[in-house]
Subunit: 532 residues, 2 copies
């Protein structure tokens, strides 16, 4: 049934399932250009996502570097032996293990004699020079396996003081005050690193860019490479059409929602309110709610109207998808929260509710429109600074209660005759330990794998600045749902049809072999312009 | 990407995913005996699960019927054309559609000219003679697809008055008072049914047995067949080693828990308390807690001890599985609930807590041992009869809070130095719309599919009686975890090892092709004695 595999200390105690074992021995297909020696061809000089002048000032050594594409060289050349360190940074994402295995394989095959180090426990491992030398035996049990535990991850940042004005400036916006660029320098010197690969999200890549600038400024030989990782889909640009991790997220959410839809249709009497801990591109889109300045009442009415129309067709069931932070996008809610924070900081909340008179008219009305359980949550759950914790509000439960109330009102008026039973679900981040789909930094993703392109771009090209405490801070901007993008437009053109009819589609569990195993997500196909 | 399929009205509006489409065209492997004509061979006369004398009295026409096995006949015989009705009864389970398709195929191939009716909306369809004639086109889009919506299900019972004392007796224990056996008789007469197949759980099969007795008593030609369905695993006997639906449940829970384990190992800092809406055979077993008369404090200490031991090894994370109804199995909790119901019915719950003095000493201590949120839930959430709703208590959250409190106590005493962050999950029943694994009523399940046996047994052989209101009521007893069974014993021999070390195994998503696609659950292999 199950076989013990591999001699890795980390996974030594594990017994693998059949699927895990079969994945372990699965030979991944690679883009042709990665199957043999390759050389680099420079593209045009890069700029920045926004405020290029500020970025140029902040990154004088890095700014303007060209993007690069991997190509097959005219004649075979053996790469020289390299010393490369790799670090897993930030939250886990399926695919992290294969990024490490991929670098390992390329070094083994095309740069013989190379050495690879895995820094342990995230960026702290770089600072403290805690590492493990990666070899065939160590890497083996993690091939094509989910998780993020081969060398463990961590959330510490590498940030430091430097005598230059730029580093002084950076220090000012680093509230953590950790002074450790020097430690990273010591580590790369000690190990004589040719390269340091930081596998992480927007924050980690911003940090990688700072280290790269620091290293370049000190003329160190260590090149810093950021490998984009996200399960939220918020890290992308022309060269990075999607990040590893996000594809799996989409597929697993789709499976779960497909199952909920099948359930809804089979039982025929429940409305499922599903909150997703990501930014789904479906049904309620926070970015759209914000752009249209919708109120909570607008959102409630939108749902209630659909429930009523469906009831007339005899459908007293449905599935409603809600992004986790939806209410953050509603301007009137933001205003209420700000007023509540002010009041709660200075006044006593009396049982009789006199305190409510301190709210502005509009906010008071909104507060009273909220279900009692949400009112209570707003008043009771506070962060250490005494602020209301919007993130703790269970949006799906709140909307269920609000739609229920609105339906009761309409029922009393004789405008609605259906039955409504709300079921709320929260699809959290615990759900994708297991799978791995593809490598990253690649393009032409709609084509067969062999034709995928590979390359990279300057980290500074992803950068913009944010103004904080009166200074510019360099950041990689999170990608949001683009209301002008093809996926949203496609969705907007179909949603009325989906709302009323039951156009349910169930992707089923992720398949590793056979039909569906190579499925590219619809959103990506739409973004790439391959599907209309 | 996706193709529209099939002309079924029910699924006409659906677009199928690649996996759904590929399943649609997948030819299921069948036991050899089902691939051609078969005949029936009778076994020994059957008895009952318990109280055979009472069952014999309650089912004078059915009791003692032999079990039957399908065999290949010496010479090919064409079956005569039949009229068969089928009904989906009770909660949905993946596999229901294929049971209908399987019956359809057998009739098409081996009883040419047969007619098949699907009663709509569960047993109500039988009573009201609401049906659809099933044909190739209608059935086609549901092949190998999850859901329970082809002819819809329902939870109405067919129960009726009859002049005989037995039926008078039955009526007394049927609180719903629905008087509809006669309607079912009218329907089967109108359609001239040779057979009525009830696809359902323990309750539906009990009901099928009552109908069968009634039909036999009236000398109707309609044979009643119960097809066992359950996602809880609580319907089994020698002839029914497992029911369809349960296999998928096990596999999907296993996938989810495998993912949580991968998550736990990768982040290294969370304890996941997962409540399962089924009876898992792992970690906390309600039946064992009941058999050992454990207290809530015992259960809390058991978990806390393991958390402490793991902390000493440097593991501040873990995964703890809890059956949904765990606290129902704890005798002291049952006592507290009974006392609370009594007090809440007659007294006022004063804020100062004077009411608590009405609790017996032991119950008062237990109540005060509970986290405040659970105390509140016990007092506030009541059913329409004013009773405390134990089912609404979130066991996983309660245990998280209790373990947290106990750890704080030990920390204060210097006996525990680790870190503990509890994460609670609830794995509900919404999660398995999508998949279908195998047919039922079959045996020899550990062998290749072609060697599976097929057959059936008398419904009365699954029966026992329960005493209600001083009378015997026939019931199919729910199967519980057997503390003397091979699966529990295996688990008990391994759990200390699992508690301390990280023997995580991740089954991954259900695969339809390749390695793992034909996996038989370990529990079933242990039950069948095939695996030690």
């Amino acid at each position: 049934m199950a076989a013990a595999n591999g001699p890795s200390p980390g996974r030594l105690a594990s017994v693998y399932s059949e699927v895990q074992t079969s994945r372990l021995h699965h030979a991944l297909r690679l883009p042709s250009v990665l199957c043999s020696q390759f050389s680099l061809v420079d593209g045009l000089p890069s700029s920045a996502t926004g405020n290029p002048d500020e970025i140029a000032k902040l990154f004088p050594n890095l700014f303007g570097q060209p993007s690069a594409t991997l190509v097959l060289p005219k004649e075979a050349v053996e790469g020289k032996a390299l010393k490369v360190g790799v670090v897993l940074s930030g939250g886990q994402a399926p695919g992290g293990h294969n990024v490490i295995c991929g670098i390992f394989d390329v070094l083994q095959e095309h740069a013989k004699g190379s050495t690879m180090y895995g820094f342990k426990g995230g960026r702290a491992g770089v600072m403290k020079c805690k590492y493990v030398e990666l070899n065939t035996d160590f890497v083996y049990p993690y091939r094509n396996q989910g998780g993020f535990d081969m060398i463990c991850s961590g959330r510490d940042k590498i940030e430091t003081v430097h005598q230059s004005s730029i580093f002084q400036l950076w220090l000012k916006y680093c509230p953590c005050g950790v002074i450790q660029f020097k430690q990273a320098e010591d580590t790369t010197n000690e190990l004589e690193l040719d390269g340091l690969v930081v596998i992480g999200g927007d924050d980690s890549n911003t940090n990688a860019c700072l280290i790269a600038e620091y290293f370049r400024g000190k003329n160190l030989k260590t090149r810093v490479i950021g490998c984009p990782k996200t399960i939220d889909g918020d890290l992308k640009c022309h060269e990075v059409p999607t990040s590893f991790g996000f594809d799996t997220t989409c597929k697993i959410y789709s499976e779960m929602i497909g199952n909920v839809m099948t359930d809804a249709r089979s039982s025929g009497k429940y409305y499922h309110f599903c909150a997703l801990q990501t930014h789904p591109n479906i049904v309620l889109i926070g970015e759209e709610v914000a752009a249209k300045k919708q109120t909570l009442k607008n959102v409630t009415d939108y749902i209630t109207d659909i429930v009523c129309k469906r009831a007339e067709l005899g459908y007293n069931y449905g599935v409603i998808l809600i992004p986790e932070g939806l209410i953050d996008f509603i301007p009137e809610v933001q205003k209420l929260i700000a007023e509540l924070n002010e009041i709660l900081a200075h006044d006593i909340v009396d049982k009789a509710g006199v305190w409510k008179n301190k709210l502005e008219q509009e906010s008071k009305k909104l507060f009273e429109f909220l279900p009692p359980s949400i009112q209570e949550q707003l008043l009771l759950e506070r962060d250490p600074h005494g602020n209301v914790q919007v993130a703790k509000i269970e949006t799906e439960k709140m909307l269920t209660a609000m739609v229920e109330t609105e339906l009761e009102r309409r029922k009393a008026e004789g405008k609605y005759k259906g039955g409504f039973i709300g079921q709320s679900h929260f699809f959290g981040l615990w759900c994708w330990g297991s799978s791995l789909v593809w490598e990253d930094g690649v393009g032409n993703l709609a084509a067969p794998v062999s034709e995928w392109t590979a390359g990279g771009t300057a980290l500074t090209s992803l950068m913009d600045v944010e103004r904080r405490h009166g200074k510019f801070k360099p950041v990689i901007k999170k990608a949001m749902v683009e209301l002008e993008g093809a996926p949203f437009k496609k969705f907007a053109s179909l949603r009325d049809e989906w709302a009323i009819n039951n156009r349910y589609i169930s992707p089923g569990p992720i398949q590793f072999i056979g039909s569906g195993a190579d499925a590219v997500t619809h959103t990506l196909l739409l973004e790439l312009g391959v599907q209309a």
